[in-house]
């Protein structure tokens, strides 16, 4: 319990730190909303520039801007998008489910495909299986997921003349259409991630399989299946779960590009556009959501350790 309280305190501090960082970083970017409005062809006079800055509250001192933002955020008000005038909280609420779905499906498919493959690779004596896993691993790691995404789109349309429905449909409206829409993006996201997990699982399993207690389990006459799953995998899982947790961060980065390529109106693309258009409230709001998610996932991973290995205890 004390551990949890301490972790919670650190979590809050980490999130606060992120809030300061993102607030400053986004303002350090050259150019602001005024420049974006003017573009290269239009112009804004001094009076017009001042009017825009005043409208968005950018004429106030930085600490004041920061405290106002933080104070409002604590009350659930994330500010208003410079670009669309919509409340950022509403924007996030409408975009977050898509990103969560995408990330969750990607992590699940990685877990359900990557881990079994890794286990298979660790025990298989067949050179072919091991080579295959190696090749998949190297390819998955070295091909950037945005490139895979483009290949998938081109492939689907030229080879099969098929593409999922253009406009995003939520799983609650039509689950089947939604599954079709999520298929390619999830595939492109999980390929790279699976490669990492396969390799991690394989090496972790190999290490565990060489240990004495496995030999004991085998000597007791346990079935191979039981040895592998109950004894070996259970003990090999800790580094795998760690990697999965860390890779969630990578995944959050991955959705930014993947969503744009597939035209999915999720949080990642919202963030990307926010940065391009110097829409500070949107960038700040979405980054906060990403940061909190990342911190929570890590907390979850830490707690999972105690479940996976009862010897681990947090004091």
């Amino acid at each position: 319990m004390r551990y949890l309280a301490r972790r919670a305190a650190w979590t809050v501090l980490a999130v606060l730190g992120v809030s300061v960082l993102i607030f400053l970083l986004v303002r350090l970017l050259p150019g602001n909303i005024v420049d974006i409005i003017a573009g290269t062809e239009g112009q804004l006079s001094r009076a017009q520039r001042a009017a825009v800055l005043r409208e968005f509250g950018l004429d106030r001192p930085l600490p004041v801007q920061y405290l106002l933002w933080l104070g409002n955020m604590l009350q659930g008000n994330f500010g208003w998008s410079f670009r669309t005038g919509q409340p950022v909280a509403t924007l996030i609420a409408s975009r977050l489910p898509i990103t969560i779905e995408l990330a969750l499906l990607a992590v699940l498919s990685v877990a359900f495909v990557g881990i079994p493959l890794g286990v298979a690779a660790s025990v298989s004596r067949s050179l072919r299986v091991r080579t295959l896993v190696q090749i998949v691993g190297v390819l998955g790691l070295s091909l950037p997921n945005f490139w895979i995404a483009i290949l998938l789109i081109i492939g689907a349309s030229t080879l099969f003349g098929w593409l999922p429905a253009l406009i995003y449909v939520s799983p609650w409206t039509d689950a089947w259409v939604n599954v079709q829409q999520m298929f390619l993006p999830v595939l492109s996201l999980s390929l790279g991630l699976s490669a990492v997990v396969v390799r991690m699982t394989r090496s972790s399993m190999l290490e565990v399989l060489g240990q004495d207690f496995i030999r004991v389990a085998r000597a007791k006459g346990l079935a191979t299946r039981a040895v592998l799953l109950r004894h070996a995998l259970r003990n090999a899982l800790i580094p795998i779960v760690t990697v999965l947790g860390l890779q969630t961060g990578f995944l959050l980065g991955g959705v930014v590009i993947t969503e744009q390529i597939f035209g999915l109106p999720g949080l990642g693309w919202t963030l990307l556009n926010g940065v391009y258009q110097r829409d500070y409230p949107v960038v700040q709001g979405t980054v906060m959501v990403f940061a909190v998610t990342f911190v929570l996932v890590n907390l979850l991973v830490d707690l999972l350790y105690t479940y996976l290995d009862p010897r681990i205890r947090y004091e």
Binding site: E41, Q43, A47, A51, I154, L163, G263, N273, Y276
Partner: protein, 527 residues
């Protein structure tokens, strides 16, 4: 091999030089690609939007993507036909009196806004005054600045009084911030995502980064239009996704870049329309500081570069050489065949540099943004070509927002701040004036470095062109002004790009606009 090479050269030459005008001609023929079938009412067009519009406010959005989206919703006092001639729209006629200082517009009666309200002179006054208000922060304010007073004479007559003659006001259609909205509407609604105008289509819904949905305006003043029941623009910024969707038959319209168009060449059921349009790829030069303050230096640099190579490498040949006014814009542009420096002349360039005192070259920086790959490509061609003159070019790539901020710095300081060369493009202006006066008149608002050392000849030409109303006379003045700025390389103008739009054969009756805007979707139908 040798034959192959010469053949390639010939092909290239033919495309850009011999047929500079011809390509344009055929392009326009392509633009007139209208089938002989009779229009059919009904159906919803599914199209791709290549960029998510940055807000739909018709008065303070500078982005072309915004204009593309709100064009269907709002209308101006005048509009363009397929040949970019001014046509009546919300105004049926107008009169210029008081030595060009008073414009009186007669409004079209019984025009309904999408909310059923009738459009009157009060709405026109309100809308234009909204642009003139600094609080609106319209990037196009300077185009309407000449208006000193807007008077409502009667519900269907508006009078605008200017402090000086300003012929551009006659081409209201091209002034981006001139959409008419109901009086008081901006105070009631968030115009960034909502919209009520008089246009052929009503805005049903705009979901940023996802889709823009339109429905037919059943009360449109031109009773026969539009033919479509509705349009859905799905935002697909990734070109490969647009191409895939076209192939799979999911969308019937998409804007493409030259490399994308080659991918779709010969795809069944898809027509690729292309014609030069108002998109002149150029490099803005800051003429304030040495060595670029010397016209000989700017000219020498320009002479070392092969225009044709720029066109090939930047847009895969999809363009025609152009001066300041885009090739193909009415009769205002310089005939591409008569443009100087089309072919590289390295020896001549070297001589000029020696004359100017830079026999050993110098270092210079060009800023460009990968947001538009063609700007980077053209910059790299320059970088490579100038090596022959010992000029060491640093090509600095910047993210778009940062680039825009940099460029604004030099615009706002008359070249005192910011850097020397920027790669960019000029899009449509309502009048040739817009390509010249703001940049090269010493009182121009985007002048990079020429503000303190006026060129009296140029100032006189550009001022006079604003005062005369006779078309032939204005044409002559703008031709002369263009010759001067091109000769002195005030900027480096390269080419007018082709507007490439891919349409499914199901979409009929659509034609391209020189403005690059999708104005004529109102006349298109689904077969």
């Amino acid at each position: 091999m040798a034959r192959g090479t010469s053949g390639w050269h010939r092909g290239v030459d033919r495309r850009t030089f011999l047929a500079g005008g011809l390509a344009l001609g055929s392009g326009l023929a392509g633009a007139r690609l209208v089938s002989a079938q009779t229009p059919k009412r009904g159906g919803t067009l599914i199209a791709a939007a290549e960029i998510d519009p940055i807000g739909l406010d018709p008065h303070n959005s500078s982005n072309f993507s915004s204009a593309q989206a709100y064009d269907h919703i709002y209308e101006s006092l005048t509009t363009y036909d397929e040949k970019t001639n001014i046509q009546p729209c919300l105004a049926t006629s107008w009169e210029i009196t008081n030595n060009g200082k008073t414009y009186t517009f007669k409004l079209r009666p019984n025009v309904k806004f999408h909310n059923g309200q009738t459009m009157t002179a009060d709405d026109v006054k309100y809308s234009i005054e909204r642009v003139l208000d600094p609080k609106t922060a319209s990037p196009w304010l300077s185009w309407l600045n000449a208006i000193k007073e807007i008077k409502v004479v009667d519900p269907l007559t508006v009078q605008m009084n200017l402090d000086a003659p300003y012929p551009i006001l006659g081409s209201f259609a091209g002034i981006r911030a001139s959409g008419i909205i109901p009086k008081g509407y901006a105070e009631q609604e968030n115009l960034k995502i909502k919209g009520i105008g008089t246009g052929p289509f009503k805005l049903v819904e705009y979901v940023p980064q996802d889709r823009i949905v339109y429905a037919r305006n059943t009360d449109y003043w031109d009773k026969s239009l539009p033919y479509l029941d509705g349009m859905v623009f799905k935002v697909l910024t990734e070109e490969n996704a647009r191409i895939a969707a076209l192939r799979a038959g999911q969308i019937q319209y998409a804007f493409l870049n030259p490399p994308g168009a080659t991918q779709l060449e010969g795809a069944p059921g898809i027509t690729i329309m292309r014609s030069p349009y108002a998109w002149v790829v150029l490099h803005y030069l800051n003429v304030r500081n040495k060595p670029l303050s010397d016209a000989r230096v700017r000219r020498a640099m320009r002479m070392a570069v092969d225009t044709n190579e720029v066109i090939q490498k930047a847009v895969f040949g999809a363009g025609v050489p152009s001066g300041p006014v885009p090739t193909g814009y009415g009769d205002w542009y310089l005939d591409p065949k008569t443009l100087p420096y089309l072919k590289p002349d390295v020896e001549g360039a070297k001589k000029l540099l020696v004359e100017a005192g830079y026999p050993n070259g110098f270092k210079v920086e060009i800023k460009c943004s990968p947001q538009y790959p063609e700007f980077v490509a053209s910059t790299l061609v320059i970088q490579e070509s100038l090596k022959k003159l010992n000029i060491d070019v640093t090509a600095t790539q910047m993210e778009w927002g940062a680039f825009v901020a940099e460029n604004a710095k030099s615009n706002n300081s008359c070249g005192k701040e910011g850097s020397d060369i920027y790669a960019s493009a000029n899009t449509f202006r309502p009048d040739p004036d817009g390509f010249l006066y703001p940049y090269f008149h010493s009182k121009g608002t985007i002048n990079k470095g020429g503000c303190d050392t006026p060129d009296p000849k140029l100032d006189a030409l550009l001022t006079e062109a604003r005062q005369v109303t006779n078309h032939a006379e204005r044409r002559r003045l703008y031709e002369e002004a263009q010759r001067i700025v091109v000769r002195d390389c005030q900027n480096w103008w390269w080419f007018a790009k082709h507007n490439i739009e891919a349409v499914s054969n199901k979409l009929q009756g659509y034609s391209q606009s020189f403005t690059g805007r999708r104005l004529f979707l109102k006349k298109a139908w689904l077969a």
